[in-house]
């Protein structure tokens, strides 16, 4: 029996769900290690590092995204239960949330409108195609909601998922720096803004930095999802 060569083994393994799953976790562990090493510097967010490592490897070895996703879908699936689990930090911060009720609701509505408005407006001014415009409008909303909205509008849900994640990374990486420049010192305001404009990735960052910011981010993400899911399709229906 001749030993199978490495390329053959790789072709075989690449079709197994185990490979995509292992690759996802290892790339994230590597990204997280760098992030912790840097003292949780926002510029070294583990998500873009992991995505770049995996996409680079798949591209270099000619493995289709579909094969990778066979394994990665197990991680992807947990987005649903994790969204449900956000009820827990919300409940833990119930007292703070109640006290800030009106400011909170006004902030979510303003943030929702600003995020969708700047997304659509800036993309339009920059000369985006219709498909891209419809896919980018819900970019600040958490991925499952945003993909549903894009589908309703006639955009491309898979493109929306990517734009949502790029938005989340931008918010988590540069959001805290922008908030420092604007001298925002209220943790509630910082968390809420990150949750509204950069959904789960921003919320993840907020949860790591401060419990109050994390709870406001989680709530803002959920409420923004609701508000955008109802408002954007209505607004588009009115202007069509």
């Amino acid at each position: 029996m001749t030993a199978p060569d490495l390329a053959q083994i790789w072709v075989y393994l690449a079709q197994k769900p185990l490979t995509g799953l292992t690759l996802t976790l290892c790339a994230y562990v590597a990204g997280d290690w760098l992030y912790e090493k840097s003292g949780r510097h926002p510029l070294l967010n583990p998500v873009p590092i992991a995505i770049a490592l995996i996409a680079g490897l798949l591209w270099a070895t000619d493995i289709p995204y579909r094969d990778y996703f066979e394994g990665a879908q197990f991680v992807h699936f947990l987005l649903g239960p994790a969204t449900v689990a956000l009820a827990v930090p919300l409940y833990q911060q119930l007292e703070t949330l109640k006290k800030s009720g009106p400011a909170l609701l006004a902030g979510v509505l303003l943030g929702s409108a600003t995020a969708a408005g700047t997304a659509y407006g800036f993309a339009y001014l920059g000369g985006a195609s219709t498909e891209t415009l419809l896919s980018i409008a819900p970019k600040s909303v958490t991925a499952p909601i945003a993909m549903g909205i894009a589908e309703q509008l006639g955009g491309l849900p898979s493109l929306t998922a990517v734009l949502v994640i790029l938005t989340g990374i931008t918010g988590a990486v540069f959001g805290p720096l922008a908030l420092n420049l604007a001298r925002v010192r209220d943790w509630r305001a910082r968390g809420l803004a990150l949750g509204v404009a950069s959904h789960g990735i921003g919320t993840s960052r907020a949860l790591q930095v401060n419990a109050v910011a994390g709870a406001f981010a989680g709530l803002a993400m959920g409420l923004n999802g609701l508000a955008t899911a109802i408002l954007i399709p209505l607004i588009f229906a009115l202007f069509r």
Partner: protein
């Protein structure tokens, strides 16, 4: 991670998905599930320790869960290369402007209820 509470979370999501399909609401199942779990906690007036741990386990690395969808950027490289300028405008200045406007508004509106421990 306690199985009983993981099951509870999945049940909430399942009910949420059912409501979503049955009513045609534009709100996705997991968000409805979050609302259901939150209402359940309000009615129960207390958070079971096991649920706190299970939810904490799921949320500790929330960002990891976005990686598989993010790798999908590979599929859209030609479009993103063609339309990088509008996409950049919408995502970078667009998102940061939304963050700053929202935070300044909330800080201003909430100035009356700010406690010292909630300050940076």
């Amino acid at each position: 991670m306690i199985i009983r509470y993981l099951a509870l979370i999945l049940i909430c999501q399942l009910i949420g998905e059912t409501v979503n399909v049955a009513t045609g609401l534009p709100v996705p199942g997991p968000v409805i599930g979050m609302a259901i779990l939150f209402c359940g906690l309000l009615l129960r007036r207390g958070l079971p320790e096991g649920l706190k741990d299970t939810a904490g386990g799921l949320l500790k690395h929330l960002a990891l869960l976005f990686v598989p969808a993010g790798v999908g950027v590979m599929l859209h490289v030609p479009r993103l290369a063609d339309e990088w300028w509008p996409v950049f405008l919408a995502i970078v200045p667009g998102t940061l402007i939304a963050i700053v406007i929202t935070a300044l508004a909330v800080e201003y509106l909430g100035r009356g209820t700010l406690k010292d421990e909630d300050r940076v």
